[in-house]
């Protein structure tokens, strides 16, 4: 008898998880890339298409790679947090304008302010693909040797900046 009820029981347990999942923040998922070298690329910067950026330039420094786009609503929530954080000059922040029109990206930064030390234009999402971007915005902490140490899916909030990112950055910078 029991074995015939089992499917029902399993399903009801699943339903509870699915219900919990509905209220869940799906965005904060670490990547399998953590602990691995940040994928190498070379792409034009947003403001000067002639200039190329490659993560190699950042070797020796701890830095943030922040993936955003002008069409991304959650990025608008994140933007003031990044503006504030960048004014503290803790570390360089490199933006990746993901699957976006160049003009739209420039326009957004002109209007809302530019928290980035450099912005890369990733119009066809190549970098996003290599980095396994799940949803925009995403933020990566990359250490002095070019290893990805942390990945945040979804907007950086003042809380996780204070509780997660800042301690990690301090630790990495001390090395």
């Amino acid at each position: 008898m029991m074995r015939f009820i089992l499917p029902l029981v399993l399903f009801l347990i699943l339903a509870v998880f699915l219900f919990k999942g509905l209220g869940r923040d799906t965005r904060e998922v670490p990547s399998p890339l953590i602990g691995k070298a940040a994928p190498v690329f070379s792409l034009p910067t947003l403001n000067e298409p002639a200039k190329q950026f490659s993560p190699k330039e950042m070797l020796g420094r701890v830095w943030l790679l922040n993936v955003w786009a002008s069409w991304c609503e959650a990025c608008k929530d994140e933007h003031p947090v990044l503006m504030q954080f960048s004014s503290e000059k803790v570390l360089p922040i490199v933006g990746v304008d993901y699957k976006d029109k160049r003009e739209d990206g420039i326009d957004t930064l002109k209007k809302a302010g530019d928290p980035y030390d450099q912005v890369i234009s990733d119009a066809d999402g190549k970098v996003g693909f290599d980095y396994g971007v799940y949803g925009v915005p995403e933020t990566y902490v990359i250490d002095k040797t070019g290893i990805i140490r942390f990945k945040q899916i979804g907007p950086v909030t003042p809380e996780n900046l204070r509780d997660k990112l800042m301690p990690l950055i301090a630790e990495l910078q001390a090395k």
Binding site: P7, F17, L22, T26, E28, V29, D124
Partner: protein, 672 residues
Amino acid sequence: MIPELGHFSLIIALFLAMSLGVLPILGAARNSRVLMGVARPLAYGQFVFIALAFGVLAHAFLSNDFSVLYVAQHSNSQLPGQYRFAAIWGGHEGSLLLWALLLSVWAASVATFSRHLPEEMVARVLGVMGLIEAGFLLFMLLTSNPFTRLLPAAADGADLNPLLQDPGLVIHPPMLYMGYVGFSVAYAFAISALLGGKLDATWARWSRPWTTVAWVFMTIGIALGSGWAYYELGWGGWWFWDPVENASFMPWLLGTALIHSLAVTEKRGAFKSWTVLLAIGAFSLSLLGTFLVRSGVLTSVHSFASDPKRGIFILGFLVVVIGASLLLFAWRAPKVGLGGKFDMLSRESLLLSNNVLLSVASASVFVGTLYPLFMDALGYGKLSVGAPYFQAVFVPLMVPMVFMMGLGPLARWKKMAVPDLASRVRWGFASALVIALLLPFLMGKFLSQESSKWSPLIALGLLMSFWIIASLIISLKQRLSGEGDLAQRLRRQSMSFYGMQMAHLGVAVFIIGVTLVKGYETERDVRMNVGDTIVAGGYEFRFNGVTQVPGPNYVAGEGNVTVHRDGRLVAELHPEKRVYNVSGMPLTEASIQPGLFRDLYVSLGEPIPESEGAWAVRIYIKPFVDWIWAGCLMMALGGVLAISDRRYRIHQKATARASAEPIVSNLQGQAS
């Protein structure tokens, strides 16, 4: 005015569906012919009104009626006509309407092609389908009405997502949905068998062709989606283990198990409750797939619009439908007999192992897809599961399954002696092994690669394919030995036998494609100036620059790449980089020269700044990649052959006679 007519039709369809869900089932329980008799007219009625609503939405799209919000969001006056039509299912609301329409098509087909079935069976099956239809219509009317007005009307629409402006995407969703929805028929048969308490072989026989048809559609749908990803995303990949892909793959795996299990239930009367559970499971996974895609519980590169309120509704619907079916199962299934006995080694046992492996494979995809959600809900933090997990669990499951797939058709029902089976297959297995070990050494030369590459995974893949092919030859030989001339003997075999062999051959072809493309593909990501050449895999690619070409609703940078081999022109490729006028979204359109043994695949990356027309260019040579989809189509063709089997009609007449006699069982007593 016309869009309101569509809205109104949906409301009428909802009432018809609710009546269909209640009256005939009640009639079957009370043995009332009048109530059972309304099932067919109601099924036709709901189809007519949903079709009307669909027609109204189609009209709104084709006539650019941007006062309809959904049209304004998903279309544009510049959009070519065929995509304006396909845009109907380019978003959430329209996809649901397509779902509902196809479900009513299936219900109407069941109503039409079920003359030979007992009245109460038809009443219950259509009733169950009516209940599902009512749930979807209610969902649409409450949370996702495609006819909502936008006042004042938009001057022009926001355009269809450029990724969806593609011939593949015109037919991929309808095919896939036909499969998803088609499993509702097997489900409805299983539920009505449980309701009626007659869980014998007959329900399996009746639902078998329907299940196969649904499976064929689903196979084609998934293959089309995969083919689309291959040429449209510009990365040359054909499967990404994305949650939305997995959502279609899970019911396919379970559906595959179901069509095999149904065969055993029909022929041997075994696995009765297991088959019912699979039928419930396959459709439940279809519904779950809809939930995953539509609720936004999982993030995905497909990223359709999602809304938590809709999620709550679908989840509630899931709990009612699946929960009630499993409750019914828990209540009724224990009283079902075990059916025919069979030995440790027999066709039944091989099919059972195949069933278990397919179900476990489906479960492992399920776990991989939902693992992040489970871990998060339990507070173990956030995780993501990628292709490495799926490959790691999938290969070990598929290897024994393929091995048994070769044995299954050779084994006898009920009982088979190990030495007998072994002596029949040993030469086949030995030749497959030799080919698998040696072929990789020749492959490198055949594909003009610098060095021959031998790897255990390539050999394993080839062994599996050639094992299937060898067992197929043995099986044919076994069947065709005997009296008469060959043509006669060929004709004597049933279509379903050929269908099975065709589908299994499809699996072999599929595995060859997967193995060889993975083992021998050449990928070059290079910067090319105008006039540059690059040699890859024996081909010389010359980049002749990019020119601007206007399209109907986009501007394309069209590259020109000529490919030479041994000084002879073999292909001229035109990869495009499009920018769509309205959304400004860029899109990579790869250019492919397909071939039996290799695809030449070129796509454009980015223009190199500060250069004279130089671009980043991706050049791929994909050996045997088309075999992947050819294999899928052969599987689907196998299904088509199986349905065309003459024996179904004969059987159907026989069962109609058999079931006309009263069958007394203690279950029936309890049911009434």
